[in-house]
C-alpha cells in the first residue's frame, strides 16, 4: 500500500488519515500542473504572475500535507515564510507592471 510507503513508520497518524493525505497530495499535484500550463500559455505577463501566485499557494499546501504525513514540524516554518515571500513577489511584479520600474 502506498500509505506505508510515504508515511512515517512509527505511526501516530492512522492509516486512513495517511491515505486521505496522499489523495489530497495527488490532487494538489494536478492543480500545480494546471498552474504550470497557465504559466506556459498565459498571453501576457499578469496571467503568468497570477498563476505563479497560485502555484506558490499550492506548494504551501503540499508542505502542510507532508507535515502531517511525516509527523514532522521541521518544514512548518517554510509555510509562513513562503506566504510572505509570495506576497512580496506579487506586489513587486504588480508595481513593475504599473510603473515600469520598482523604485522611485
Amino acid at each position: 500500500m502506498v500509505a506505508r510507503g510515504l508515511a512515517a513508520q512509527s505511526a501516530l497518524v492512522s492509516v486512513w488519515l495517511a491515505f486521505v493525505t496522499e489523495v489530497c497530495l495527488l490532487a494538489l499535484f494536478g492543480t500545480a500542473a494546471l498552474c504550470l500550463y497557465r504559466i506556459v500559455i498565459g498571453p501576457r505577463a499578469a496571467d503568468r504572475a497570477i498563476a505563479f501566485d497560485t502555484l506558490s499557494s499550492v506548494i504551501v499546501g503540499m508542505v502542510c500535507l507532508l507535515t502531517i504525513l511525516w509527523e514532522s514540524t521541521l518544514y512548518f516554518d517554510a509555510v509562513w515564510i513562503l506566504t510572505l515571500v509570495g506576497f512580496l513577489g506579487s506586489a513587486a511584479i504588480a508595481r513593475y507592471l504599473a510603473r515600469g520600474r520598482l523604485f522611485r
Binding site: C24, L34, D53, V60, G61, W80, F87, G100
Partner: protein
C-alpha cells in the same frame, strides 16, 4: 487524550484537508477556463484564499495537542495568507487595468472607465 477526542480530531483534519484541496482544484480549473485576466484573478483571489487557509488549518489542528507552538505558527500563517493574497490580487488587477489589458468580449459594464486613467503601451514607453 481520550480515544473519542482523537478520532474527532482526525476527522476534523481530514475534512479541512479535503475541502481545502477541493477549493485549490477549483482555483486551478478557473485559471485554465476563464476567458480574461480579471476573471482569472477572481478565481485565484477568492477560491485560492479559502483553499490555502483550510490547507494550513489541517496541520494546525493535527499538532494541536502535541506541539502547541506549531499551532500558533499555523494560525499566524492563516492570518498572513488571508491578509496578503487578496491584497496581491488587487494590486495586480489595478496594474492590469491601468495598462489596458483587454477585457472579455461579453463585458457589459466598465464602471472604472471614467474614474481611473489608463496608460497605453506607447505612452508607457515614453515616460
Amino acid at each position: 487524550m481520550s480515544d473519542v477526542a482523537h478520532v474527532a480530531q482526525e476527522l476534523l483534519v481530514a475534512a479541512s484537508m479535503l475541502i481545502g484541496t477541493f477549493f485549490m482544484i477549483v482555483t486551478g480549473v478557473g485559471l485554465i477556463r476563464f476567458p480574461d485576466v480579471f476573471c482569472r484573478m477572481h478565481a485565484a483571489g477568492k477560491a485560492g484564499t479559502i483553499g490555502i487557509s483550510l490547507l494550513i488549518l489541517a496541520p494546525t489542528l493535527f499538532f494541536l495537542d502535541r506541539e502547541p507552538f506549531v499551532s500558533v505558527r499555523g494560525v499566524l500563517a492563516i492570518v498572513f495568507q488571508a491578509l496578503t493574497t487578496p491584497g496581491a490580487t488587487y494590486l495586480l488587477a489595478h496594474a492590469c487595468y491601468v495598462r489596458r489589458y483587454p477585457l472579455h468580449d461579453r463585458t457589459q459594464l466598465d464602471e472604472l472607465k471614467e474614474w481611473l486613467p489608463t496608460v497605453s503601451d506607447e505612452e508607457f514607453g515614453r515616460e
